[in-house]
Symmetry: C2
Subunit: 787 residues, 2 copies
């Protein structure tokens, strides 16, 4: 079963329309919450008056900051640098608004329509202040001294805070020394300093389903039940419990089906706190379903980076001896649950597959009067890969080297694996666990006939088409720990259930866990049921982010299944009065090795383990076994993206004609799912490369608040993705050898398309920024060298 | 905490009106089910036509037998004698109805009112047959040969079955031999044969809340969720799963709060199957809430026995050398989930506290065209105790012995404990585990000044009042196995939760389990939360019946708490770098024995046990421990009931002026709860002794279908119960020494009141039947001897 193209066990329910998404959770007596949001990017609140809203028939309550002043700001789930604490977002704005869309008040009513009517009657008076929108501009005062202490939550009195929330460096080798010597080397002609200035636009994940949550305080059971979370239900359980003043075991968080997650969806937001606290205080079920307009201004944005890199390069072969990067990250108005995760990952993953003996990246996390930013599929790597691979392409061009050869020159050699880069990534030592970067490049070149592609490009150019071919290489990370657990249970009817702390954001985790257990038990994977995202069914789980579950939950499930088989063998051996070695698993049953006709099915063994008999056997009652997997290192899959693009000479329209992905995932638990992940990831990468950007007017008004303005690529814009999945470098640090595959479809898309467009235009430094705007292409098409 | 008069932790929720009873479970889109019931006691179904019902707007479906012909009859949970199989009840009547109230069709509609309207339009044509109503009459053909095979479910072809479903004997010693020798002994004057003919009327438990169930097939999670069950949720889970064609782990049964259980409520009935199967087939939530009229004809009746006993008694001291009993049990129209439990318990518990060297009881379980009968609080013992103690009183009268002395003569002596009676009770060897029957009698006589009571009775008689004092002695049984389990869990906030397979029918099981765990952890009991009656939270549970949970679940909880303390000590010892012996529990924390200031609270230990650290400590993650208790013997509490009654000379009205209970429960986990159980039990016992009886007209029409006709005693009829709880005979077979206290308030009420009324009337053999009717008393008051 492991490695099989098994069908997704999630799909039958979804295809029959029987899925339950957040909005499908209907509670008797529920109230609907509507958020009143700031219409200005920056300003002082003069007055928020809900009295007219309360007059609307059906409005049950309305809150302003005064009603929730006891609630702390939203805390950090990851990368919680202490200096970021003052920048956390309050649940409702206190006396200053910092972005358009910031929650200022909430209205609760008996229907969503009445709640909206009520919200329109909330009178919000704000004195506008200047909006600070450019993260590259000099930092400004962000929190004045009057507000510093309130906003700090650090326990100690703070002064005013500026808009650079944090700056930090990831570094190894001796970059300063390298560049001090550079002048002489450059003069000698042995080296060259190559610089690149790269911008990645502000965009984010826009899942089919906006956010939503339904919370009910169950008076009879004295517990708060929260439906609709996904991604990190256990973390959210803890956070909600603290906010609601309940011990964690009295909060039950339950995932519903989700229309994708992609990073932004499923984190704890002000709205989630408002919903759960309102359920406690109003003693009515509270439902909040975000609409698309809200989603585009209220849910985490992402990307939005500006990199300036200089590299010291050996002239002969393009070997990069040192790389020095400084980048700004447009954090938006607050620092949310991710803390400094994106900046940190950008910095530490920037060297990618290359040795780069001396490396430094300085991150500057800057606040602006825009929607707060968080993680989005391949956070930091999408941005860093674009910047780095643009640099590598530029080196190739400047040194007139073949881009593939240049990359091979710089690759960490396969025989140096595992390869430690003496920096941290997500709090772990950055050790490339395995990999043969050149081999994958060779395989992709051969499989997709890169020479042939190049020849075809040349031919078409001769016919005056504007076409180009480009590629980019990247290293991903996956499988962050520290742990996952799983329980495999068999009932008396032989039904096998995996109960675990994993979460689903639609990626197919149920299917791969079922495959892992089916493999161990030698049963069909679709006979297995997976229960996850239920904090009352399993005690611990870290969530679905950072491409971690195939590695972590998959390994835990493998361990649980192995423990289950051992328990089965012990029981069967006792039943048959033979030794443990004389029985073996075969096709979902334990057989006598010497007489396979004598067998006990899993269901029969489960029935044998009722409590009295189990006690006699000194076994825990029931056929169930837990497995855990713990890890303090990540795994590092790697890949190459390549694109063929064509630009319409008349309109400047960019067509992505082919998109090729080569990806080594260590071991593909289910190649179909890996391909699906890659295809979806590429589509989202294309969005950021060509179409999607959150733009703001000069006063900070968001210009992209509907899908008319925020363009997501459709099936017309995304080519069939051609994917070669390889398994040449299984991870040595987990029992399955697997590396996660959730983000590698996205990572290098901007870099590869940028490379291809550059190749098409043949105008130096043409593409240093994504999304690649039609206006730019229109300006440049006339300058494309003709054959 | 153990033994404390701790407040019930169940009550705050209930007192605030926040309880959730079956009817409070509201599901979006639910349909309401209404049962069409037979209006005749016995007849052949000619036609059941639902077509007019289906025309009612809002009716969604209607079923007759043809729609559920694939469903098996309701099976046996207890005492499943194979000869009873043909007598099981089908879910809907096939072609013959056997009692008024038998389900013939069901209607599903969008409201309960519409369902009722629809049900009225179901056209049921039945050809009436003679109703067989007297279980003492000769057996008649019950199932004719045509139907025998269909009804059998035994796998083999059966012929016609008569209305005596089973007859069996419990016996030890040599009764035939004893009575063969009796003639001579009687002639010699050394012995006497005393006979008694005793009838116990048909009555049953009528909990505040009628039955009810809400079932929903959750398409998204592929599981059937059933709310509203109590008593035996795990058994019902298995039965429902089988009927619904689902593996048991895909059926989740959840107890709601209940307005009492008392035996009848919570068993699996045809309606429960219909609700759950309809939820599967109609794919809508189905709700059924029984009304009172239905309850009185459809829910298990009970009692309804007729005993004929002869006893061979030594003339000098009244020692009972042999007892021979034959009794009929009015089973009603079908044999339901209890199988032969009531008959079996009646027979085996009949000798009570007395030695009786030669004993035989023949049970005859007879079908009649009445509502099927099952267990009701103190099943078999209420009936048997009435018959036996009437016999003992008669012996005392005939031999002119003091009734107390006579009982002492016959008691199993304390120094013979544990005392094995070589018969079975509920499938276990009947071993009186401990007891000093005479000591309890002494204590009760002294505490309540029986001599003083007798003197007062004499005084009042002299004043021409008709007053009497009587008593009865009994042995109860409790703590049937085979097992219970419990899990004690502590979360990071220190919240202690007990999760277990126990059920609540309102008896306060949460409180006593919390006390047991609080005792072990040295924390307040009301800081503990109990999760039970949730088949998705704990894997095994046997249910709340037969007064078993204090013994079984209490002991399991004690074992779990002990295991938890050990785990805490291991973790704390590791943390403090000392040995296991150097740390000890104190007030909910583990302290260093030599330095109690250094301590770790339970919450702190729970936080230490997150999965990574737990792995390093080689502990299962999380602070949680399971405990099990297994037992293959019951425990035997015992008691005495005494009553002072007065009869109004003009009206014949019977007043129960005092009711005294002495009860040895081994160890009272919470005396307040034991007293509460006793008080409630006495009230129900009084119902059966004086007020409650299900009467039928000659054609089998039930005459008691409302509380106008079925009289339950109110606070006006029930005196304050005076209870002396003793702990002189802790059970040696469980770690708490506890014996259950749930039924002993009921057991001897009819016997004691019968004795007191006899004493008041002083007419030989006046009271041989309960309920004691006013008409009888009116007839007799004129014959009461005057002073």
């Amino acid at each position: 079963m492991i490695g099989a193209r098994a069908r997704r066990i999630e799909d039958p329910v979804l295809l029959r329309g029987a899925g339950r998404f957040a909005a499908d959770t209907v509670r008797a007596g529920e109230l609907h919450m509507r958020v009143v949001r700031s219409p200005v990017a920056h300003g002082r609140i003069r007055r928020v008056d809900v009295s007219q809203a309360l007059l609307v028939d059906g409005v049950v309550g309305a809150w302003t900051y005064a009603d929730v002043s006891d609630l702390p700001a939203i805390g950090f789930r990851l990368t919680p640098r202490p200096e970021l604490l003052p920048y956390r977002q309050p649940v409702l704005a206190r006396d200053e608004v910092r972005y358009v869309g910031e929650p200022v008040a909430v209205v609760f009513a008996t229907s969503a329509y009445i709640a909206e009517d009520g919200a329109e009657r909330v009178d919000v008076e704000i004195d506008p202040l200047d909006a600070h929108l450019d993260p590259d501009a000099a930092p400004v005062t962000w929190i004045d001294a009057d507000h510093a202490t309130w906003a700090a939550g650090t326990g100690s009195r703070l002064g005013a805070q500026d808009s650079e929330a944090t700056t930090f460096v990831e570094e190894y080798g001796d970059v300063d020394d390298a560049f001090q010597k550079a002048e002489e080397l450059v003069e000698n002609g042995t080296h060259r300093v190559v610089t690149v200035d790269a911008r990645i636009g502000r965009h984010s994940g826009v899942p089919m389903e906006c956010r939503g949550l339904v919370a009910m305080y169950d008076e009879a059971e004295q517990q708060l039940v929260v439906d609709g979370a996904a991604k990190v239900p256990f973390w959210n359980r803890e956070a909600i419990a603290e906010m609601a003043g309940l011990p964690p075991h009295r909060v039950i968080v339950r995932e519903t089906h989700v229309g994708g997650g992609f990073g932004p969806r499923g984190e704890l937001y002000p709205e989630d706190v408002l919903v759960t606290v309102a359920a406690m205080r109003l003693r009515r079920p509270i439902k909040w379903i975000e609409d698309r307009q809200e989603h585009l201004v209220a849910t985490n944005h992402s990307r939005g980076q500006h990199h300036r890199i200089r590299a010291l390069v050996r002239t002969t072969d393009g070997f990069i001896e040192a790389m020095d990067c400084e980048f700004t990250l447009d954090q938006g108005a607050y620092v949310r649950t991710h803390g400094a995760t994106v900046a940190s990952l950008t910095a530490s993953m920037l060297p990618g597959p290359y040795v780069v003996p001396h490396f430094r990246a300085r991150a500057r996390v800057r606040l602006t009067n825009k929607t707060p930013a968080g993680t989005y599929r391949s956070p930091g790597r999408y941005e860093g890969t674009f910047a780095r691979e643009r640099l590598v392409d530029k080196i190739a061009r400047e040194l007139q080297l073949d881009p593939l050869t240049l990359r091979r020159t710089n690759f960490i050699p396969a025989d140096k694996m595992p390869y430690e880069r003496p920096i941290q990534a997500m709090g772990t030592h950055l050790v490339h666990d395995s990999g043969d970067y050149a081999l994958l490049l060779d395989k992709v070149c051969e499989r997709y006939d890169f020479d042939g592609i190049r020849a075809e490009v040349e031919q078409r150019r001769a016919a005056e088409e504007i076409v180009g071919f480009g590629l980019a290489y990247f290293v991903e990370k996956s499988g962050i720990g520290p742990f996952e657990g799983a329980r495999v249970t068999v009932d008396g009817a032989g039904q096998v259930t995996i109960t675990c702390g994993a979460s689903s954001v639609g990626q197919g985790v149920d299917t791969v866990l079922a495959q892992v257990v089916a493999h161990a038990l030698q049963i069909p994977h679709d006979a297995i049921r997976v229960v996850r995202g239920r904090t009352d069914q399993f005690e611990y789980g870290r969530g679905a982010f950072a491409t971690r579950l195939a590695v972590m939950a998959g390994s835990a499930a493998a361990n649980a299944a192995e423990a289950l088989v051992e328990k089965c063998r012990r029981v069967a051996a006792h039943e048959f009065r033979v030794s443990f070695e004389e029985v073996a698993l075969h096709d979902g049953a334990i057989e006598l090795v010497d007489d396979p006709g004598r067998r006990l099915t899993l269901g029969e063994i489960a029935r044998l383990l009722e409590p009295v008999r189990a006690g006699m056997l000194k076994e825990d009652p029931g056929l169930s076994a837990d497995g855990w997997f713990r890890s303090d290192h990540m795994t590092y899959p790697y890949g190459v993206h390549a694109a063929v693009v064509a630009i319409d000479r008349g309109t400047g329209n960019l067509s992505i004609e082919r998109f090729i992905v080569g990806y080594d995932v260590g071991r593909a638990l289910n190649p179909t799912l890996v391909e699906g992940q890659i295809a979806g990831g590429v589509a989202q990468g294309i969005g950021g490369a060509v179409y999607e950007e959150f733009l703001y007017s000069e006063d900070g008004t968001p210009l992209c608040t509907t899908f008319m303005d925020y363009l997501i690529p459709t099936v017309l814009e995304v080519p069939d993705v051609e994917a070669l999945i390889t398994e040449d470098a299984p991870s040595p640090i987990n029992p399955l050898g697997v590396k996660g595959a959730g983000e590698g479809g996205t990572t290098a898309v901007a870099a590869a398309i940028g490379s291809a467009v550059d190749d098409a235009l043949r105008v130096p430094d043409a593409i240093t920024s994504v999304p690649i705007r039609p206006s730019l292409l229109r300006r440049l098409v006339d300058h494309v060298p003709t054959p």
